[in-house]
Symmetry: C2
Subunit: 354 residues, 2 copies
């Protein structure tokens, strides 16, 4: 049987944009669309037997068709743009617009801009953090449909969208195991257990839980875990420089691409090649991953999908509490290879294999 | 005499947020601000002799206090987040909110979202490009207050905010001249004169005009200009690898940080050190610049300032056509030094000095 006729099909047949078709078919007469275009769209819909779907219909009950995206800080991650784009694109597909504002983590600013948004009758909120963390959304937000984006609430259950960090950790560990690494795996970055974030950050705890579980399943464990700040390559450089004084790793699991960049710099300085001597695997799949030589294998943060999924929860009015986990895919490049034969020969010792 | 009492002074004295103070003093009763807070703000304003400024007053004439930011693409640059933040922060300081949407450069999408924004009575538009270029804002936008952000219109005069790329080019060239480089300067990236962008891009043409003018003032010129795509380090790597087959540069001007990263990789592979053998200077001042070893001297793109300046033009209702140029400051790090003595000795020749 023929598949369902979509709005895109109607738009194509009528030779107009999807948005224009949507306006005509939803009966909006305020959008300055020419009579000819309206006729073309209606004719195309008739010919194809188009029926609007229920999701689109339910949107008509929205008051203003606007969503307020409130973020702690937009610029901490260069990929905030992708989260915003995922949210804005998806909103527009459902005839909604997104207000974007950031609080710099300041409660007064947050309160003020919430008021500004409510003043403009925002229908719903996305409450976002730019890296995975525990946050406390203000009382005011909880009176409206809202979704936590890249954060978790501690004191109550709420709909939330988060990357599947634990599975990502397991993915990274399994990629090394599959390449034959077992007993000389070291971890750089750990849970981000530092003076400022004692006990680590959410992404760090979850990634490490996945790494350790997957290695344990294979009967092994990391030889060492260096806890450090993830913010800049410098910390990875220092951690790996120190490590190389005492160990000859076959593989490094770096907790993000910045640390991996620093690891490359330190390995290079010690005359060790990636991946011939040492394999490196990482998380985030930022631009950096493809820029390094050799290109870095990394488990991708799904920025665009996070924004998109959060808006879809609002659009579909899905109010189940608890996190929706967005998969983090492995981007395989050139930084993982079987354990380093060169290193083994150079040090005149034989690597143990399990 | 004492300086003018600001809203921030009143807010501080009253112990409330600037936004809350603004709401109270603008007489808005719809913002759920407690009676006590209102009293405190009014008392503080009295005590300090606060008078609202004219800019704030003129905003009361705005219909909805919203600005639509329409961008070709938000994610092409990881720094789009900073532009958005500069715009959103500045708007909020003036009791406005920003809608963010992107068109992917598609005219139909652009038209549709313009309609969506007008449907919500947006007062004004920012029409943005994520790298400096010539763009044609749609007719519809021109009926409203609007500012071009990071782009220029070709067919008519319009208020626009752009980085001062020409002066940035001169800044980079002068930094090398000041360090003593004169006759072995090579340029990597050029005007971005490629098959897809014949004649180059705006940023490329302007940066190169500045570079060439400043070198000409010192009686010199680049030995070579390699035209290539700027998008990834790979292109810089290839250009510099080729260059080193024929030349021994004392300094490289790379048209952005990505190309400079590739230049580092190629120099390293040829056993040349930065800055001992070859100085490198660049543009953008992305995160990459501080992550490289040694850290890269770069002329900064003022992302936050661009967003801020564009909103201020709207807020102050400044309608003069033609671009406002935002300065690009030099961020001096460790990649520029006097011409490489090591290289000179290694090749048994004496570098000429003017």
């Amino acid at each position: 049987m023929s598949s369902r006729v979509t709005l895109a099909d109607v738009a194509r047949r009528a030779g107009v944009s999807r948005t224009a078709a949507s306006f005509v078919l939803s009966g909006r007469t305020d959008m300055r669309i020419s009579e000819t275009t309206q006729q073309r769209v209606l004719a195309a819909a008739d010919e194809l037997g188009y029926r609007p779907n229920i999701t689109a219909r339910s949107l008509r009950t929205a008051v203003t068709g606007t969503i307020g995206l409130i973020s702690d800080t937009i610029t901490i991650s260069p990929y905030a743009g992708e989260v915003i784009q995922g949210a804005a694109d998806t909103a527009l597909e459902h005839d909604r617009l997104v207000f974007v504002a950031e609080t710099s983590g300041d409660r007064d600013v947050e309160h003020g801009l919430l008021q500004e948004m409510l003043d403009r009758q925002v229908d719903a909120f996305l409450y976002a953090a730019m890296f995975t963390q525990v946050r406390e959304p203000p009382e005011l937000v909880r009176d409206y449909p809202f979704v936590l984006l890249n954060c978790l609430a501690e004191s109550f259950d709420a709909p939330a969208v988060l990357p599947d960090e634990t599975e990502a950790g397991a993915t990274a560990a399994r990629a090394l195991l599959d390449a034959g690494h077992t007993d000389r795996i070291h971890v750089i970055g750990g849970r981000h257990d530092t003076a400022e974030t004692p006990g680590g950050v959410v992404a760090g705890r979850e990634r490490m839980a996945g790494v350790e579980a997957a290695l344990a399943d294979a009967g092994t464990a990391p030889v060492s875990v260096t806890e450090c700040v993830w913010h800049a390559p410098e910390y990875g450089y220092r951690a790996v420089s120190d490590l190389l004084e005492r160990h000859r790793p076959s593989a490094l699991i770096c907790l993000n691409d910045r640390l991996a960049f620093g690891a490359y710099q330190a390995l290079h300085q010690h005359g060790l090649r990636v991946p011939d001597d040492v394999s490196v695997i990482s998380f985030d799949d930022s631009d950096l991953a493809s820029w390094l030589r050799p290109a870095l294998t990394s488990v991708a943060l799904p920025h665009y999908e996070l924004g998109k999924t959060a808006v879809m929860l609002l659009v579909e009015n899905r109010r189940e509490p608890g996190p929706v986990r967005v998969p983090m895919p492995l981007r395989e490049r050139a930084s993982v290879a079987p354990p380093g034969h060169v290193t083994v020969r150079r040090h005149n010792q034989v690597a143990r294999r399990d």
